[in-house]
Symmetry: C2
Subunit: 346 residues, 2 copies
DNA sequence: AGCGTTACTGACAACGGTTTCAGTTAGCCG
DNA sequence: CGGCTAACTGAAACCGTTGTCAGTAACGCT
C-alpha cells in the first residue's frame, strides 16, 4: 500500500505538506506532489482518516427485507441523497427478526456515523442503546415504543387503515377480513387498529376468525387467505396490510379460482410497480416510498452536521392515498350462486 | 468515546492485556476487565482496528439499480452469505451510468476489502484499475471487455436469447421484434445476439425497425413498444431483454388496448414475483437470482481468505430456463380483423 | 539595512487499537 | 531453598493521517 509518506518522499517534501495539499491548502510544490500522487497511484487510507477524525462518512441502514419493493425504493431514496455527499450506505437486512437486528446494530455502531432503522418490533429496546454509543438514530417506516425522542419518518398508518375500511364500507361490505402484519410493529398494529376501528364505528364487527395476523411476508398472506376461504362463511372483502401479503393473498385467490372482485374484494397496502398490470388491477392504499428515504436521510445528515446537531426530534408523518383500481367492488358483483345466497340471508 | 485505555485503567491492567482478553487469549484478571467493559459500555473502534490490520471487513457492492427486483434478490443473496461472517455490505447504485460507477469505485477502493460489481458498460476499463489498489473484484450479471482474469458469476445470456427465439419460432412467429438493453453491456449485447441470431438461422430476419435498443429501464420498454405499434406493419411478437422493459412493454400494450397474446405475443427476460399474476401471466426466460448473489459473494470471500487467496479466475455461467405462461401464443390467436389479414397475406 | 509581516514548511504528537519484546511472576521439581 | 519452566504482563512501536507548534524564507516598508 502506498502511503502519504511515500508520496512525500518522492516529492521531496514532508507528509504534512502533502496532507495540506490534499485538503486544498496552498502549497509551494504542488506540481511535484501531484506528480508523485499520480505516479504512485496514491489514495488516502479511509481507516486512518476515520481514526483521526472520528468520522467514518458511512451511514448504516437496517431494513427488514431489501427485496420488498417498498424498502428497495426507500433505500434508493436514501442513496439519492448521499450521492452528492461524501457518505456511503452500509446496508443490512434484519429479516424481520429482532435478534438479527440487535446483532447487526452492535456491529454497526462501531462503524458508522449514524443509523437509519426500520425496527423489526416496537418492543425491543436494544436500538435505544445505540444512543449510548452516541450514534444518531433515525426511524423510518416503523417506530419504537419509547422512541419519541428520535427523529422519525413515518406514514399515517392508522389513517391508511381507515381509508381502506371506508372504501370497503362505501361499497357495502359487511363481512370483512383483515390480514395484519406483526402486531408488535408500528405499521402492523396501527393499520389493523385504523381498519378494524373504523369498521366497528360503522357497526361492522370483524370476528376473530376474520381478524388474522401474518408476518408481512408473502407466504403468510397466502396461508391466511386459504384459511379464510376454508371458513364456512368466507368474507366478501379482504384487507392485506402490506404489499407482499397482498401478493400472497392474490395468489391464493387465483389458485382457488376465486373471482376478484366478484366473490371477494381485495385491497392492499403499498402500491406495486406492477399494481395496474395485475389480474385484476389492485386497489391499494399508497404512500410515498422514495420520498420517505430521502427525508430520513436528510434528517440524519442534519443531525451529523456539526453546525446544526442538537435540536428536538423531528417526527415526520406522511399521508397515505387510496388508489382505486379493479380488485374491489360491491359484494356479490359477480355472484357465485351458493355464496351470494348466504350473504343475502344474513 | 471510551477507549481500550479507559477499560485498562479501570481494570488496573495495561491496554495490551485488555486487547489480549478481547481476542480470546487467557488473561489473569478477566473478571475485572469484563466488568470494566460492561460498566463503561466499551466497543472497540472499527477504524483503529482497520488501520492496524489493513482490513475493513467490508465488501463494496455496486449495482445499476437496487429497485430492480433482480438486483434486490442478488444483493439479498450476498447478504445471506455475509450474515455468518464478520463482513458487511457497502451498497452503491451506479444508475446505469459509468461516470457514477467510476466515482463510486474510486471511493470504495479506499474503504473495502473487496468489490462485487455489475458494470454499467462493457467498454469502460476503469474498474480494472481497481486491481491496482489490490482490491479483489468479482463481476456479477455483467462482464467487462478484458475482464477475463477476474472472477465472475454470469448467466448464459446468449442461450437465454436463443430460448426466447426458439419459443417464438415454435409458435410460428415470423414478424418478431426485439427490445434490447444497452448494447455495450454484456447482457444487452448477448441476449440480442442469441435472439436475433437464432431467428436468422431459422430464416427469420429482424428488420431494423423491429430491432430496437433501450436502456434496461421501464420507460424505454414503454416508448419502444409504442414505436413498434405505430409501424404500418407491427410485429406479432416482442422480446424484451429484461424485467423492467418487459413491464414497460406490457403497460404500453395495455394502454393501446392490444390483446396479448391475441394480437401480439410478449416474452420477457427475468421472472418477476408478480409474473404469474399479471394480465396475462408472463412467459419469460428465467434465471437464478438469489443464487447468483450467493455465488458471487462466496467467490469474493474465498479470494479474501489469506489461506486461499491466489488462483485462477473462476468464471461461473448459470443456465436460463424458459417459463411458459400465457403471454405468448401462435400469431393471430385472437385475430383482430385488419391486422390478421395482413399477417396472412405475407 | 533592519524590521515586521505574510506565506509556507517540517518535526512531532496524537487518534485507538495490536503485536513484539523483554521482563516478571507463579508453579513445580529435586 | 534454589533453579527451571510455563504463564502471564506492560512498555513501546507501529498502522496512515491530521493538526499543532515552532520555525524559516521571502517580501515590503521605512
Amino acid at each position: 500500500m502506498v502511503t502519504i509518506h511515500d508520496v512525500a518522499a518522492r516529492a521531496g517534501v514532508s507528509s504534512a505538506t502533502v496532507s495540506r495539499f490534499l485538503r486544498g491548502q496552498r502549497v509551494r510544490s504542488y506540481e511535484a506532489i501531484q506528480a508523485a500522487i499520480d505516479e504512485l497511484g496514491y489514495w488516502p487510507s479511509a481507516a486512518a482518516q476515520s481514526l483521526k477524525s472520528g468520522r467514518t462518512n458511512t451511514i448504516g441502514v437496517v431494513v427488514p427485507d431489501i427485496t420488498n419493493p417498498y424498502f428497495a425504493a426507500v433505500v434508493k431514496g436514501m442513496e439519492s441523497v448521499t450521492r452528492t455527499e461524501p457518505y456511503r450506505i452500509l446496508l443490512a437486512n434484519s429479516d424481520e427478526s429482532s435478534e438479527q437486528e440487535d446483532d447487526v446494530l452492535a456491529d454497526l455502531v462501531r462503524r458508522v456515523d449514524g443509523i437509519i432503522l426500520a425496527p423489526a418490533t416496537e418492543q425491543d429496546e436494544t436500538p435505544l442503546h445505540v444512543r449510548d454509543a452516541d450514534v444518531p438514530l433515525v426511524f423510518v417506516d416503523r417506530d419504537l415504543a419509547g422512541g419519541e425522542r428520535f427523529d422519525a419518518v413515518l406514514v399515517d398508518n392508522d389513517g391508511g387503515g381507515r381509508q381502506a375500511a371506508e372504501h370497503l364500507l362505501s361499497l357495502g361490505h359487511t363481512r370483512v377480513a383483515a390480514i395484519s402484519g406483526n402486531l408488535d410493529t408500528t405499521p402492523g398494529r396501527l393499520r389493523r387498529e385504523g381498519f378494524v376501528g373504523t369498521l366497528a364505528k360503522a357497526g361492522v364487527e370483524v370476528p376473530p376468525e376474520y381478524d388474522l395476523v401474518g408476518d408481512f411476508k408473502e407466504h403468510s398472506g397466502y396461508q391466511l387467505t386459504l384459511s379464510l376461504l376454508s371458513l364456512p362463511e368466507p368474507p366478501t372483502a379482504v384487507f392485506a396490510a402490506n404489499n407482499l401479503m397482498t401478493l400472497g393473498a392474490l395468489k391464493a385467490l387465483h389458485d382457488m379460482r376465486i373471482d376478484i372482485p366478484g366473490q371477494i374484494s381485495l385491497i392492499g397496502f403499498d402500491d406495486l410497480d406492477t399494481g395496474p398490470l395485475l389480474r385484476p388491477p389492485l386497489t391499494v392504499v399508497d404512500r410515498p416510498m422514495f420520498e420517505q428515504g430521502v427525508l430520513a436521510m436528510r434528517l440524519l445528515l442534519r443531525r451529523l452536521d456539526p453546525g446544526d446537531g442538537g435540536g428536538l426530534a423531528s417526527r415526520v408523518v406522511l399521508d397515505t392515498k387510496l388508489i382505486e383500481r379493479a380488485s374491489t367492488a360491491p359484494p356479490g358483483g359477480h355472484p357465485s350462486p351458493a355464496r351470494t345466497r348466504k350473504t343475502r340471508s344474513r
